[in-house]
Amino acid sequence: MDIDLAELASLVALLKEADFTEFRYDKGETHIVVRRGAVEAEAVRPSSAAPAAHIAPTTPAPLAAQPIAPGDTQKSKPSASGIARNPVPGAKVITAPMLGTFYGAPKPGEPPFVHIGDAVGPDSVVCIVEVMKLMNSVSAEVSGTIVAIHAENGELVEFGQPLFSVQESSAS
């Protein structure tokens, strides 16, 4: 994976002034996602040059060893991917209805079901959880705006693990 640091730095400088919540940059094998706004504090730690730069493979892995999200039953190291694992305070959380492999898109190479900032309704499909080759669609079950995504494509998610934070629209 070769990233031109100078190119990246100028990119970040440009983004500083721009008005956006999510920025995606794809070049060959390099995929950069920069999020701003409702994203949780730990993901935008200013210690690195690119705020919350997130490089992830987008093709679903076959049923094989997968990274696992650190839930509260997990004692291992925190996620290195920069994904915000903890739900956004005050938001509704969509959790995994079953244990399985998380897929954010209907098929490999297709755009994800939802992005940060997307409006969802109760019936909106937000992801797929695959258990032993059986694909289970997960619905939002609330109305609102996706403000954070807590799982990565192709990873094992546990029952009850937070997948999305949704800012409810009906909240008064």
Partner: protein, 456 residues
């Protein structure tokens, strides 16, 4: 699977047996992943396992009994083998098969053996072929056939579904005039529950001891036995006190029994740890095959205590294809061991389940006592699963010494919170029938009200 992949065991169980398996793996230097229900996220085994994944909600049918979730979790976490423990999915052919299909080693027998042994009729055929005595009786497909068979066997007889298990649809018939009605009821229940109306009629042995033999087989054709256990103190088919060896046996009867067990194991070239259960009619000095339990058993520690063999370790090693390191002549029985099952069942209320928070849990640190338990102070004992809280195992140079140590262990056990069967266990140890060991399998059901008469 690549040969270089390190051994990693998925533990598909909970409670004390999950801890027991994790400990055996730890001692072998094998990493573990535990699959838990949402309720068990912070259980003792969850904290002890190398990694824990939540399989599903608290209800066992959606977590511990969910074959797809279990296998998916095992594969996704990079496990190379799966230990099912006892209960839950341990005897499920579909789990063993799913493991085989996904390159996971099932720490248990092959799926075909689970299939053969899980069915009363085929298991009985295996026993017969191995020269092991079975109870007089057989399958029947009509009331008239049943009448003729029962006439030959002699009353009382047990009438039960040929397929399936768990005592479902089982009827005790004392007289020929009641047989056809009981047969018809059993047949319709069997048809409804298992889709097969075949009914099994067999002799009912009223005064029998439950004696079982521990066996171990590897993938290289080696089979050994690790002597016998007696588990006659049962309440509605649930064992409460188990011991090794069985002191009611003469040396020749013991020798015969061990021979039967090995013969059955060799008949199907059984691989893994297993138990062959028998009923022993003391008056007639007659054995009859009951069933094979193709898994680790709750009462395995008594055998470990008298033989010094770590059965779970051996079970794991043979599953990975290693040849048995023990030969028959290495197995020696030393002293006597007795296990008591402490359960969250109220002894003063007919053993009604009694879950709740353990406000106090202080077992006495005593020599010669082993405690297999997942309890800790302030643990919320759940209502969702088995009532087993702890197994208290005493070893002594002889039976009297083991009983005495158990008495001390119970006396000094500090437990508060859920109502338990502790008062019953304490009384059992002082009951003449238990002290003299002339208990048979139906004894406790009759004796319980008398034992608990005094409300102290």
């Amino acid at each position: 699977m690549t040969a270089a992949k390190p051994r990693k065991v998925f533990v598909a169980n909970r409670g004390e047996i999950a801890l027991r398996i994790i400990e055996a793996c730890d001692r072998l230097g094998i990493d573990t992943v535990l699959g838990v229900s949402a309720f068990d996220k912070n259980s003792l085994p969850a904290r002890r396992a190398g990694q824990t994944v939540v399989l599903g909600p608290s209800h066992a049918s959606e977590s511990y009994l969910n074959v797809d979730a279990v296998v998916h979790a095992a594969v996704a976490t990079g496990c190379t083998a799966l230990h099912p423990g006892y209960g839950f999915l341990s005897e499920r052919v579909s789990l063993a098969q799913a493991c085989a299909d996904n390159d996971l080693i099932f720490i248990g027998p092959q799926p075909e053996h689970l299939d053969i042994l899980g069915d009363k009729l085929s298991a009985r055929r295996v026993a017969q072929a191995a020269g092991v005595p079975v109870s007089p009786g057989g399958p029947t497909t009509s009331g008239e056939e049943a009448l003729a068979l029962a006439g030959q066997i002699g009353y009382p007889v047990l009438v039960k579904a040929a397929f399936g298990g768990g005592g479902r649809g089982m009827k005790l018939v004392h007289d020929a005039k009641d047989l056809v009605a009981a047969w018809e009821l059993a047949a319709s229940e069997a048809q409804a529950a298992f889709g097969d109306g075949t009914v099994f009629v067999e002799r009912f042995v009223a005064d029998a001891k439950h004696v079982e033999v521990q066996i171990l087989g590897d993938r290289h054709g080696n089979h050994i036995h690790l002597a016998e256990r007696e588990c006659s103190v049962q309440y509605r088919y649930q064992k409460m006190l188990e011991e090794a060896p069985c002191t009611a046996l003469e040396e020749s009867a013991r020798h015969t029994l061990h021979g039967y067990a090995l013969s059955l194991a060799r008949q199907i070239n059984y691989v893994s740890l297993g138990t062959i259960e028998f009923l022993y009619d003391v008056q007639r000095n007659a054995w009859c095959f009951l069933e094979v339990n193709p898994r680790v058993q709750v009462e395995h520690p008594v055998t470990e205590s008298v033989t010094g063999v770590d059965l779970v370790r051996e079970q794991i090693l043979v599953a990975f294809g290693e040849p048995l390191s023990l030969r028959q002549e290495d197995i020696r029985v030393d002293g006597h061991a007795i296990e008591l099952r402490l359960t969250a069942q109220d002894a003063h209320r007919g053993l009604a389940p009694s879950p709740g928070t353990l406000t106090r849990w202080r077992p006495a640190p005593l020599g010669g006592i082993r405690l297999d338990t997942h309890l800790y102070e302030n643990y919320r004992f759940p209502p969702h699963y088995d009532a087993l809280m702890a197994k208290i195992i005493a070893w002594g140079p002889d039976r009297a010494a083991a009983l005495q140590r158990l008495e001390q262990a119970l006396e000094r056990l500090e437990i508060e919170g859920p109502r338990t069967n502790l008062p019953l266990l304490q009384r059992l140890l002082k009951t003449p029938e238990v002290v003299k060991n002339n208990v048979t399998t139906r004894w406790l059901e009759d004796a319980l009200p008398r034992l608990m008469e005094d409300p102290r």
